[in-house]
Amino acid sequence: MYIGGKFPRTESGRYFTLKNAKGEEIANMCKGSRKDFRNAVVEARKAFEPWSNKTAYNRSQILYRIAEMLEGRKAQFIDELMQMGSTKKQADEEVFTSIDRLIYYAGWADKYQQISSSVNPVSGAFFNFTVLEPTGVVTAIAPEENGLIGLVSVIAPIIVSGNSCIVLASESKALCSVSFAEVINSSDVPGGVINILTGNAEELIPHFSTHMDVNSMLYCGDDKKSIQLIKENSAINLKRIVIKKDIDWMKDEAESPYFITKFTEVKTTWHPIEKIGASGSGY
C-alpha cells in the first residue's frame, strides 16, 4: 500500500489474492485495515497544509509530471491491465486516457479558480471577493470496474486544488494501484498528499465515512446500502459527500472542472475602500 510516501504492508498482516480471467493467481495484495486507514489520515492531514500552500502552477507542474512518468512506464501498466482481463486494445486505451486525464487536470490547476471566483458588487464601499479553497482531507472509494483510469479520475480532481486524499483502490483490479503509487512517488508529489489503500470496500467504508479528521468523502459506485451508510455517517462531522454513479470513466463525461470544485470551500472576503465613486459603491 502507499501511505505517507512509503510503501508499508498492512499492519494487520492480512492479504487477498488477485486472479486473472483464467482463474490463475497473479498477486497477493495487502488487505488494508482500520488502523492502516487511520495512519493514512494522519499523514494526509500533515501533508494538507504544505500542499495547499504550493502555487497552483507548482501543483499543475507536478500533475503534469505524474502524466510524464506514467507515459514512461506505459508498457508495464498495459501488461498489468491485460493480466487483469483487459484486451490489448482496452488496456492501451485505458493507459492513454489516464495520461490525458492527468494532463487535463494539470491544466485546470491554475484555471478552475478563474472560472469559479468572483468580485461581488456589494452596495457599499467594499472590495468584496469570493474564492475557492481546498476543503482538506478527502477519502475516496475508487470505482470498482477500472484498475487505472478509476484511480486517476478520482485522485487528480481531488488533489489539484490542494486537498490531500486517502483512496481505496478497486479490489478486483488492484494490481496497478501499487505501480501507480510508484509513479506518484517518483513525480515530486509530497508524501502523504496521495495515500492509496487496497482492501475491501464494505469493510473500510464505515471507517472512511466516520473519521472525525476527514472533511469530505467521494464514493464511486451504485451500492445503495453503502451510499446510505456514507450519507448517515457523514452527519457526525458534516463531511461533504460526493457520490458518482453511472459514469463511464473512460469517457469525457468523467472529467470536469466541477469535479474539482466539489472538493472546495467558498470563501468571501470584505475589504473596505476609503471611498469609491460618487455613490460610495463597491467594485
Binding site: 503534469y64 487535463y104 491554475d110 484555471k111 475602500i273 476609503e274 469609491i276
Partner: protein, 488 residues
C-alpha cells in the same frame, strides 16, 4: 544623515561571477523559419545581430522581404486549413505542453542567449524571462481543450492566421505571450521578432521543430519594421498582435482600418508609482528601484514617474540615492549585475537625448558616481527632481533607466497627476492602509495596478493598457479573447 551609511567606494567590489557561455551553440547564420523549414531569404540579404555589451557580432540574421512574408502567410494558412484547425483542443494542448517542457529543459541556454543578444542582466533572463516564457506555454496549453468553460454559451472559434510583431525588451517572453494563446485557441502564426533581438525567437522556432509541431503552425520571419509592415498589410492575415511603441501602434490601427483584421496593441506607458507617507518606505524604495531600473528601464510598464507625498519626500529621496549607489552597472553576464547594457546604439541615443532635454527643461539630475565601460552601450541609473507635470521627461516614454520625481500633498492631487498622461498601462501605489490602496486603484486609469509591489508578471494575470497604451489583453483568461471569435 548620510555619514552613517556604508562607504561603497571602499573595498566593496564583488568578485566577478560570470555565467558560462560554453553550453550555448549559436549558428553563424540564421535563415527564416517558414512552413517547418529553414529557408534562405529571397533577397539573399542578412544583417548582423550584435551583443550590445561588447558591440561584437553574434550571428547573421536573414532579412525577410515581401515575398518571404507572403510565403510565410501562405504556409500558416495551409497549416491552419489542413492540420491545426482540425485537431482537437486536447491534441493542440499536447504540442504546447511539449514546447513548454523543452523551454524548461533548454532554459539556461536560452537565458544566456537572451542576455548576450539583448544586454539584460543574466539574473533577470534566468529568473524572470525564461521561466515565465515556459509558464506561459504551460498555462495556455491547458486552456486549449477548455475554451468552452472560459466563454460559456459563446461557441468560441479560432480566427485563422495571426500576424505577430514583438519588441526587443523581452524577446522570448513576448514571443511566448503571443504564440501560446494563439496556438491554444487554434490559430497559426507568422511572427516577426525585433531586429536587434531575433536569436531567442529563432531558438524557439527550433524548439517548435523539436516538439514536432506541424509544419507551418509557427513561422518566424526576421527583419526590421518594413517586414512588420508587410505582415500588417498582408491580405491573408486575420489578426495583428503588436507590442511596441504607441507611434507604430497608431500606424497599424490606421493601416488595417479598411479591413476585417482584428488587432491587439500593447503600447507605451509612463506609469506613476505613488508613495504615500504611511508606506513601508524601505520596501517602497526597493519597489521604485525595481520599477524603473528593471531591465534597464526598457519596460513599457516601468514606474518611470515617481510621485512621493511631500512629508516623506526628503527621506525617500535620500534612501533612493543611497540605494542607487549600490547598483552595479556592467557585464550583463555577471550574476552580480543589476543594470546591464542598453539594447542598442539608437536606444542609447534616445535616452541620452531625453537626459539632455531634462537638464534643459531645468530639472535637477542625479546619477551615482562610477565609470562605465568604454565598449558597449551603457547608461547610469538616473533621477530627475524638480520636474513639472508639463516637462517632456514627465510626459513622454523614455524607455531607459531614467526616473522623474514629483511630489504631492493629497490623494486627489496624486491621482490627478498620475492620470495626467495619454498613457494608461500601469501604476503603482505604496501605503500600509488597505482601504487607501483600493481607493487609489479604483481611480487610476491604468490596466495594471501594483499595490506595494511593482513589475510583477504572471501568465494567469491579464496585461494591457487603457487609453494610448493600447487595447486588448494578453495573459489570463482575458488573453484568450484576442484569439477567438464568438457567436455572440
Amino acid at each position: 544623515m548620510s555619514e552613517n551609511k556604508i562607504n561603497l567606494k571602499s573595498n566593496w567590489d564583488l568578485a566577478p561571477s560570470l555565467e558560462s557561455t560554453s553550453h550555448i551553440n549559436l549558428k553563424k547564420k540564421y535563415d527564416l523559419f517558414i512552413g517547418g523549414k529553414w529557408v534562405k531569404p529571397s533577397s539573399g540579404k542578412y544583417f548582423d545581430t550584435n551583443n550590445p555589451a561588447t558591440e561584437e557580432k553574434l550571428a547573421s540574421i536573414a532579412n525577410a522581404n515581401k515575398k518571404d512574408v507572403d510565403m510565410a502567410v501562405k504556409a500558416a494558412r495551409k497549416a491552419y486549413d489542413t492540420t491545426w484547425s482540425k485537431l482537437s483542443g486536447k491534441e493542440r494542448g499536447k504540442y504546447i505542453f511539449r514546447i513548454a517542457r523543452i523551454i524548461q529543459e533548454r532554459a539556461k541556454e536560452l537565458a544566456v542567449v537572451e542576455t548576450l543578444d539583448g544586454g539584460k542582466p543574466i539574473r533577470e533572463s534566468r529568473d524572470i524571462d525564461i521561466p515565465l516564457a515556459a509558464n506561459h506555454f504551460f498555462y495556455y496549453a491547458g486552456w486549449a481543450d477548455k475554451l468552452e468553460y472560459a466563454f460559456p454559451n459563446r461557441n468560441p472559434k479560432s480566427l485563422g492566421v495571426a500576424g505577430q510583431i514583438t519588441p526587443w525588451n523581452f524577446p522570448l517572453l513576448m514571443a511566448a505571450w503571443k504564440i501560446a494563446p494563439a496556438l491554444a485557441c487554434g490559430n497559426t502564426v507568422v511572427l516577426k521578432p525585433a531586429e536587434t533581438t531575433s536569436l531567442t525567437t529563432l531558438l524557439l522556432a527550433e524548439i517548435c521543430e523539436q516538439a514536432g509541431l506541424p509544419a507551418g503552425v509557427v513561422n518566424v520571419v526576421t527583419g526590421a519594421g518594413d517586414v512588420g509592415a508587410e505582415i500588417v498589410n498582408h491580405d491573408g492575415i486575420d489578426k495583428i498582435a503588436f507590442t511596441g511603441s504607441t507611434g507604430v501602434g497608431k500606424i497599424i490601427q490606421k493601416a488595417i482600418s479598411g479591413t476585417d483584421k482584428k488587432a491587439t496593441l500593447e503600447l507605451g506607458g509612463k506609469a506613476a508609482n505613488i508613495v504615500f507617507e504611511d508606506a513601508p518606505l524601505d520596501q517602497a524604495v526597493e519597489g521604485i528601484i525595481n520599477g524603473i531600473f528593471f531591465n534597464q528601464g526598457h519596460v513599457c510598464c516601468a514606474g518611470s514617474r515617481l510621485l512621493v507625498q511631500e512629508s516623506v519626500y526628503d527621506v525617500v529621496l535620500r534612501k533612493l540615492k543611497d540605494r542607487m549607489e549600490s547598483l552595479i552597472v556592467g557585464n550583463p553576464l555577471d550574476k552580480n549585475t543589476d543594470i546591464g547594457a542598453i539594447n542598442s546604439k539608437s536606444q542609447l541615443d534616445t535616452i541620452n537625448h531625453y537626459i539632455k532635454l531634462g537638464k534643459e527643461e531645468g530639472a535637477e539630475i542625479y546619477q551615482p558616481e562610477g565609470k562605465l565601460e568604454k565598449k558597449g552601450y551603457w547608461c547610469k541609473p538616473t533621477l530627475f527632481t524638480g520636474v513639472a507635470q508639463s516637462n517632456r521627461i514627465v510626459q513622454e516614454e523614455i524607455f531607459g533607466p531614467v526616473l522623474a520625481i514629483q511630489t504631492f500633498r493629497t490623494i486627489e492631487e496624486a491621482i490627478t497627476k498620475a492620470n495626467n498622461t495619454p498613457y494608461g498601462l500601469s501604476a503603482g501605489v505604496w501605503t500600509d492602509k488597505g482601504s487607501k490602496i483600493f481607493n487609489v486603484t479604483s481611480q487610476l486609469r491604468a490596466g495594471i495596478v501594483w499595490a506595494n509591489t511593482f513589475n510583477k508578471f504572471d501568465p494567469t494575470s491579464p496585461f494591457g493598457g487603457y487609453k494610448e497604451s493600447g487595447f486588448g489583453r494578453e495573459g489570463g483568461l482575458h488573453g484568450l479573447e484576442a484569439y477567438l471569435e464568438f457567436e455572440n
